[in-house]
């Protein structure tokens, strides 16, 4: 089975707020005459996030990053594996204990248009978690809603307005207010800025940073844009076809990506500097991303990897620590 790296090897991560162990998420698809096929959306992922840290999760469409995020907050059940929050295994606990734990974990979604109920007022949207978790009602709930709206930079007098009356950036603030209202300690943000215009993205990125500092939040920041992930994250995990191929401190990955796929990603992202761009040579990948229904054997990247050898299609490389704090699943780390 794939490694369970982060906890076993890196002692500093033992005090993690969130620990994901060997999480697997399969989806059945189709179902014709010859039975179902299975999408291996997340296939044996382990990671740990220390309190107060932002872990960035980056990968291309279909790599399973959003599914992993949803499994971690228990919006979808894992097929197997464990998600620990503090020491509570979210995949096992039920009832009151799950509710109390779940309250500390919130999610911010990509699409501020689709994730807000158009028939509810902003006040009701933000207050809903308070009611669902029976934390506050009436006057007290109103006060809390106004407080949290102020915190995210929304005018608290707008509680009676509807989502369509707000711009994209303001709607994302509403989504953030809803996530904050229960005073969570851990937030999964799934592509929170990618639907927004450039000038608005910075507003939301800065807001998330301020909130993290103010409320001591721990983030899992999921995005396809490595530039935003780099800016937000202390550590970065890179996903490819349902697996984490590399995880480590953001700076050291930037200076020396160890997995060939990480290196390809880093080389593909343009920077707003014409002099640097004139010198940048992206490493172009051959072929297309394979289907997660039928992922390649052994190392899943071997079909497209510029430095793949025979062993890569035969033996799956475990996610192992190659340098302090640097975990890589590759037979030839740092060789590309």
């Amino acid at each position: 089975m794939n490694a369970q790296p982060t906890i076993a090897v890196d002692r500093s991560l033992k005090k993690s707020l969130v620990r994901v162990e060997n999480v697997v998420k399969y989806f059945p698809v189709g179902g014709g005459l010859f039975g179902h096929s299975i999408v291996h959306a997340v296939d044996g992922v382990s990671l740990a996030i220390p309190a107060g840290e932002t872990l960035g999760l980056v990968g291309e469409s279909g790599c399973g990053k959003s599914t992993l995020g949803r499994v971690i907050v228990q919006l979808q059940p894992a097929t197997s594996g464990h998600v620990f929050f503090k020491d509570v295994d979210l995949t096992r606990v039920r009832g009151e204990k799950l509710r109390r734990t779940r309250q500390q974990i919130q999610m911010i979604f990509q699409d501020p248009y689709a994730s807000l109920n158009p028939r509810m007022t902003v006040g009701d949207i933000v207050a809903e978690p308070l009611r669902n978790f029976r934390v506050a009602r009436g006057r007290k709930a109103e006060q809390r809603v106004q407080e949290v709206m102020r915190v995210v930079g929304l005018n608290p007098n707008f509680v009676n307005r509807y989502p369509h009356e707000f711009s994209g950036g303001q709607r994302q603030r509403i989504g953030i207010a809803r996530a904050l209202v229960l005073n969570p300690s851990f937030i999964v943000a799934d592509e929170p800025v990618s639907a927004l215009d450039v000038s608005i993205q910075a507003q939301i990125v800065n807001l998330l940073e301020d909130l993290q500092e103010k409320f001591d939040l721990t983030f899992l920041f999921i995005a396809h844009d490595l530039s935003v992930v780099r800016h937000m994250s202390d550590r970065i995990a890179v996903m490819y076809l349902g697996k984490i191929v590399e995880i480590g401190p953001s700076d050291s990955i930037r200076d020396k990506p160890l997995h060939p796929y990480t290196k390809v990603l880093e080389s593909s992202v343009p920077v707003p500097d014409p002099d640097l761009e004139a010198a940048r040579r992206p490493i172009l990948l051959k072929g297309e991303i394979p289907s997660p229904v039928n992922p390649p054997s052994a190392c899943r990247f071997h079909t497209r990897c510029p430095i793949a050898e025979k062993i890569c299609s035969e033996v799956e490389p475990p996610l192992e620590m190659k340098e302090a704090g640097r975990f890589v699943a590759c037979h030839f780390p740092g060789k590309l």
Binding site: S199, N206, R230
Partner: protein
């Protein structure tokens, strides 16, 4: 509503020009105007669009058809909605060629596979028989580019050609556009919100805001020495993948204006940190700040001391 207001620029033969702006800035309308494809009920109320010495605005329907087909190609953001899902990709490329009477049907058919190879679709001979859904997003965009370049246009307009694509695919499409424009000697207009793509591909940049050009000039000048506060702020609002020291992003407060009731004076003044009294009432014109570099601003960034500290 005035979506595009008094925009003037030129594109030289073989030059790659970027038009950058956010949603609603008028960048796409500007490009559609060049092809006279402004959607109804919109219209070009004033101005000229010269292609060589012919004015596109006054071309007859026959001329404009000929112009669109043989001289210009447009590549759109979403390759799925631009392809017909029930027709084979090869057939659609063939049709694009045959439609403009440059090639006979047989000639067109024979050119399809080589053309798909040229845009680096692997196993093109087999893939001509595929339907669009059998192509990945990147492959579809390649097929669209193949259609675009099939008549060897001299101007290629690419409207957010990589926005819907993953970054590794984006890199290969950009390389392809760069190579093709070189091979064809074609001019390219790249429309995007992505400043980094502009830096990667373009020799000259046009920055649009609220339907106007607010700054234009050689790419290097715009990136190293932006003079309009909007350009300056935009460049500092984007995180960089090569970021070394974590600094707060400069955010541009507020929202772009509603173009049905634009603000008086400079259209950017409600969001500008460097505005002066004059900006509230009088709109500046686009003036040359150094040879080839124009900006529409009363202040200009070169006159601002310690801009990072401004509130």
């Amino acid at each position: 509503m005035t979506a595009v207001d008094g925009v003037s620029f030129n594109v030289d033969r073989g030059e790659v020009v970027g038009i950058v702006g956010e949603s609603g800035s008028g960048k796409t309308m500007t490009a559609l105007s060049i092809l006279r494809l402004v959607p109804e009920p919109g219209q070009i109320t004033n101005g000229r669009i010269l292609y060589g010495d012919r004015d596109v605005v006054h071309m007859s329907d026959e001329e404009i058809r000929e112009f669109r087909g043989n001289e210009v190609a447009m590549i759109f953001q979403d390759p799925m909605t631009s392809l017909n899902p029930v027709l084979r990709v090869g057939f659609q490329v063939e049709e694009a060629m045959a439609a403009h009477q440059r090639f006979t049907r047989t000639q067109a058919r024979e050119r399809v596979a080589p053309l798909l190879t040229r845009v680096r679709i692997p196993a093109a001979e087999q893939r001509v028989r595929d339907y669009p859904h059998q192509f990945s997003g990147g492959m579809r965009q390649r097929a669209m580019i193949a259609m675009g370049v099939s008549n060897e246009p001299s101007l290629l307009i690419a409207d957010e050609p990589t926005t819907a694509l993953d970054v590794t695919v984006q890199a290969s499409i950009i390389e392809l556009v760069r190579d093709l424009s070189g091979e064809l000697g074609a001019s390219v207009i790249l429309i995007t919100h992505n400043m980094a793509l502009i830096a990667s591909l373009c020799q000259r940049v046009i920055v649009m805001y609220a339907g106007r050009i607010v700054e234009q000039g050689p790419t290097r000048a715009i990136f190293k020495n932006p003079q309009h506060p909007y350009t300056w702020s935009l460049l500092r609002s984007i995180p960089r993948v090569d970021e070394r020291t974590k600094e707060k992003l400069i955010s541009i407060r507020g929202l772009p204006p509603d173009l049905s009731k634009p603000p008086p004076g400079c259209k950017f003044h409600p969001r500008c940190r460097f505005r002066v009294d004059r900006c509230f009432t009088e709109e500046p014109s686009l003036e040359e700040v150094e040879p080839g570099h124009l900006a529409r601003c009363w202040v200009l960034m070169r006159n601002v001391e310690a801009p990072e500290a401004a509130q």
